[in-house]
Amino acid sequence: MATISIEHLSKSFGSTDILKDISLDVKDGEFLVLLGASGCGKSTLLNIIAGLEPIADGEIRLDGEVVNDVHPKNRDIAMVFQSYALYPNMTVERNIAFGLEMRRISKADRKAAVLEVATMLQIEHLLARKPAQLSGGQRQRVAMGRALVRRPKIFLFDEPLSNLDAKLRGEMRTEIKILHQSLKATMVYVTHDQIEAMTLADRIAIMKDGVIQQVGTPQEIYSKPANMYVAGFVGAPPMNFVEVDLIRRDSQIGINLPAILKGKPKDYFLPLETSKQLEARENTRIILGLRPEMITHTAFTQSTSAEIECDVELLEPTGADTLCVIRLAGHPAKARVSPLLACGPGESMAFSIDTTQVCVFDADSKKLISSS
């Protein structure tokens, strides 16, 4: 059993506010990812959970117990650092066993525990080496082993994969996920990589400038982003934004989407699903959020979706899909089409827009008005 509960937490360095009134709950056995750009305060929040940074305001509870002033070593927390933070003068074996040594566990027990963890992480052949003799991926595993061996209540990860190359990162991501499923431990994971966040998390908390923007499952975050920041941060390539007026035509609420066909501007009417929130905003400025996969080739799509035809400026093949850069309301937008159906750059092509999935944001507050 291990839950984390943070209430109205604030933290500042000098006159800079790093964290502003953070409240967050992590359930037992949950994998929570703190996602945000660098400098958003996510690492500071993690250090606070670990007890490595003092708190100015607010409360932090582990299993319901206030731990504001509890020393890190008494919190039963293990942490994996971005730099791995291995002890350079000790062998891998002592690195892993150090936490147990400090907790006065007998030598024989230590040896057994280290061996078990090392076998699990496939590093038993490295036990006699020093960190300087290891590759980045091996160091990463040792750092994981050092966290695992103590069997703590809570695991904290501070961008543990960001120093690895892309292939290794993918492998380690899978291993961390398997690890979480087998240990069923509470884990908090900090990253700036939205793919890591989407693939690993039970829930994601997106942070910006010391404020949590949204907490939700990866699917919620993806399909119902609370605001434009979240919408733009999650998803690759990012969501396309089009600033337009919300209008009504023939009793159907919708927007006029300005596109370009054969070099000339052309407006298409895009009907939106009627809702109370939208009706209340009739004739106001809104921002329409379209994920690239919502704009796609017309073949095989339902007849209910709206169709537009416009010039393709550029093609970005990614293998499975090809991204077509088109121009909507004066700004480049990306459409995701099948490579077989993509036309050449400079030609015009018909796209279908799945209006049932779009997100509508307020033009001033940038907050989500409605999504389907």
Partner: protein
């Protein structure tokens, strides 16, 4: 018509370009070969002759070394070097290291303190020696001050004590060098990954344990550098002794460098002086050569 000529000019320039590094490096290289290694060889040669006031070529083998090792004055100087060298290195490293660890705690006014500790290194040994001579003089310095304060029986007369005078040299030298060693350690401590300290905290290690178990052992190269620098400083120590005790009382606090100077330039015993100089060179080499060897070997492997 001008083409072949131009090509020829170019090729002269090109050749010059190719040899430019050698041309630039050659003069200092030759100067070093002549004035350092040449004179080492010359001194080595002189030490094998019976030169007195002027160099002679009267070759007499290791006679000067035999004389040297039989002299009480030389044995006192060499014994002093062992005492001075070991205590100087030990205390300078210990004190420097402790100061660095204390300064590493991100305290306020760190910049000012660092300058204060480092400042002695900027003072010449003559000034250090003279100042400490006054401070430790029984009738001027600490002893008389404490007695004036009312502690009549207070005694601190090492500087005029035949058995203790060399320890006075140690005190002054340590005072001068600890700040430098501190700077050396502090810069190394600053490169230690802060996450390592955090990880150790989470692992449950105390701050003392973190320093002694993790950080200081990982600073081994710095210990080695400090040792080598201090070792050769101690072997060539000369001016501090001159200013502080002038080798006295008697010759009880002389170091080999003082012995060499005395013999070569004041007593017309050039051969003997050269022999003592060669002995010092051998001592330095005994420390530096293994160090260089381990450094170069590490580089080749890395």
């Amino acid at each position: 018509m001008s083409n072949p000529q131009q090509r020829k000019q170019m090729s002269v320039l090109d050749r010059l370009q190719r040899f430019l590094p050698q041309l630039v490096v050659a003069p200092p290289f030759l100067l070093i070969v002549f004035f350092v290694y040449g004179f080492i060889a010359w001194t080595g040669f002189i030490s094998l002759t019976n030169s007195r006031m002027l160099p002679t070529f009267d070759f007499q083998g290791v006679q000067q070394y035999v004389r040297l090792l039989a002299m009480d004055r030389w044995n006192v100087a060499f014994h002093n070097l062992l005492i001075f060298g070991s205590l100087y290195i030990l205390f300078a490293i210990t004190i420097g290291c402790v100061l660095a660890v204390l300064l590493d705690q991100r305290i306020r006014a760190e910049g000012a303190l660092r300058t204060i500790y480092l400042y002695p290194m900027a003072i010449s040994f003559i000034v250090t020696g003279t100042a400490w001579k006054w401070i430790l003089n029984p009738s001027l310095g600490i002893e008389s001050y404490m007695q004036q304060l009312g502690w009549e029986s207070f005694q601190f007369d090492w500087i005029v004590n035949r058995d203790m005078a060399i320890y006075v040299v140690v005190i002054a030298a340590v005072w001068q060098a600890s700040g430098f060693v501190m700077a050396l350690f502090l810069s190394a401590l600053r490169t230690v990954d802060e996450d390592i300290i955090r990880a150790a905290h989470l692992d449950g290690a105390s701050t003392t344990r973190i320093y002694f178990g993790i950080i200081l052992p990982s600073l081994r190269p710095v210990f080695l550098s400090a040792f080598v620098i201090l070792a050769h400083l101690s072997i060539k120590s000369f001016d501090l002794v001159v200013a502080l005790t002038n080798g006295g009382p008697g010759y009880s606090s002389t170091l080999p460098a003082n012995f060499m100077y005395e013999m070569a330039f004041r007593r017309n015993q050039i051969g003997l002086g050269a022999a003592s100089a060669m002995m010092m060179l051998a001592t330095v080499a005994a420390i530096i050569v293994p160090y260089l060897y381990s450094e170069l070997r590490a580089k080749r492997h890395g």
